[in-house]
């Protein structure tokens, strides 16, 4: 039996690594990432499951699943040449990914699976901070956070619940960290670029802090998400992770202008 030892949520600003190198110790993001990393280190995970939304690097309209498990033995990224950070090779965990695929299908979750991956910044930025040296294997779970129709947030909760049951049923003995990559509310290339829907971001923070995950999922309609900017569907990654939390409340939760950082620990 494997064990979920920690869950976390962090954003993936493509320039955070660069900004941190330019002005060490000055960015709020660096300090928050460090806080999350300290908790990850204390939890001593053997493996990371990362819930993320690809930004048209691995997937495109020619083939765009709502949910997909990454089954590659290894993959490289970030692939975007404009993203100023180191390039990494990230190891996968094929046996666990395959077992999750089978478990999902048998539990009425008809997931897609990808045996070859091109990693984008959204997958790699959190790992740069939380998986130093890419020492731990990573199983990515992709959600479609950007292309309408988005998966229902309530369906993401169900995916998270299934994930938790899978972890507890998995034959391995791994200590697993579950990480959501994404912001709460943001617009990156649309007409509202620069604006942050603070009202929505604060609502999300409040509901997460109180452990009101089903309420958050009910309120996170596609309409509400889209009104907060074109990048705001990344919330679905947080909600997927929330589905795996049961009633556990966060140990730590911090909002930073539409970005959220949080940690949950399990005994």
């Amino acid at each position: 039996m494997a064990k979920l030892v920690l869950a976390a949520g962090v954003p993936h600003p493509p320039r955070l690594v660069f900004e941190m190198q330019q002005s060490p110790g000055k960015t709020k993001g660096e300090a928050l990432m460090k806080q999350v990393r300290e908790q990850v280190e204390k939890a001593e995970p053997d493996l990371i499951i990362e819930v993320d939304s690809d930004h048209f690097v691995n997937f495109f309209y020619n083939n765009l699943p709502s949910f997909c498990i990454g089954m590659a033995e290894e993959a490289q990224g970030p692939q975007e040449t404009w993203c100023p950070m180191p390039r990494y090779t990230v190891r996968g965990h094929v046996p666990l990914a395959k077992a999750l695929f089978r478990y999902g299908v048998q539990n009425k979750f008809d997931l897609a699976a990808a045996h070859e991956l091109r990693l984008d910044h959204s997958l790699v930025v959190p790992l740069h901070f939380l998986n130093p040296g890419m020492a731990l294997p990573v199983v990515p779970i992709y959600t479609n956070g950007f292309v309408s129709p988005l998966p229902l947030a309530t369906r993401c909760v169900a995916l998270g619940r299934m994930l938790r049951r899978f972890i507890e049923a998995w034959e391995g003995k791994e200590r697993i960290a579950l990480i959501a990559s994404g912001c709460f509310a943001m617009d990156v290339g649309g007409p509202l670029r620069g604006w942050v829907d603070n009202e929505w971001a604060e609502t999300i923070s409040k509901l997460l802090a109180r452990g009101q995950y089903p309420t958050l999922a009910r309120r996170a309609t596609e309409e509400r998400i889209n009104a907060a900017g074109n990048n705001s569907g990344e919330l679905l990654n947080w909600i997927t992770v929330a589905g795996a939390l049961g009633k556990t409340k966060p140990l730590f939760l911090e909002g930073d202008e539409g970005n959220g950082y949080a940690v949950w620990k399990f005994d």
Binding site: F56, G190, P191, V196
Partner: protein
């Protein structure tokens, strides 16, 4: 409408270095290889970001126009252009376009 083709051109521009090089050197020739409507082709070649947005081109992919400075679109005019034809919104005043640093291969 073949907005899929417009999205595909922008997707390939960011993800395929050889395609990107051709888009920078001979964009008109590259566009001929896609089945675009006259309206789509004109909107692309004139860098009419707002029009492309209204046609339904994904904003993540539209970003690549300024990122790779295609068809006269750059980080200084992108926001003005995407807002063309939209009613004024006070939220437009908030935030600025962050300065981008290009990593060229």
């Amino acid at each position: 409408m073949s907005v899929y083709q417009v999205n595909k051109i922008l997707y390939l521009t960011d993800n395929d270095a050889a395609f990107r090089k051709r888009m920078q050197e001979e964009p008109e020739v590259v566009l001929n290889e896609f089945s675009l409507s006259t309206e789509e082709r004109d909107a692309l070649t004139s860098g009419a970001v707002g029009k492309l947005y209204q046609m339904g081109v994904h904003t993540f992919l539209l970003n690549h126009l300024y990122r790779w400075e295609l068809f006269g679109v750059n980080r200084d005019n992108y926001l003005t252009r995407i807002r063309e034809g939209m009613a004024y919104d006070p939220r437009f005043e908030q935030g600025n376009m962050p300065v981008q640093r290009f990593i060229q291969k």
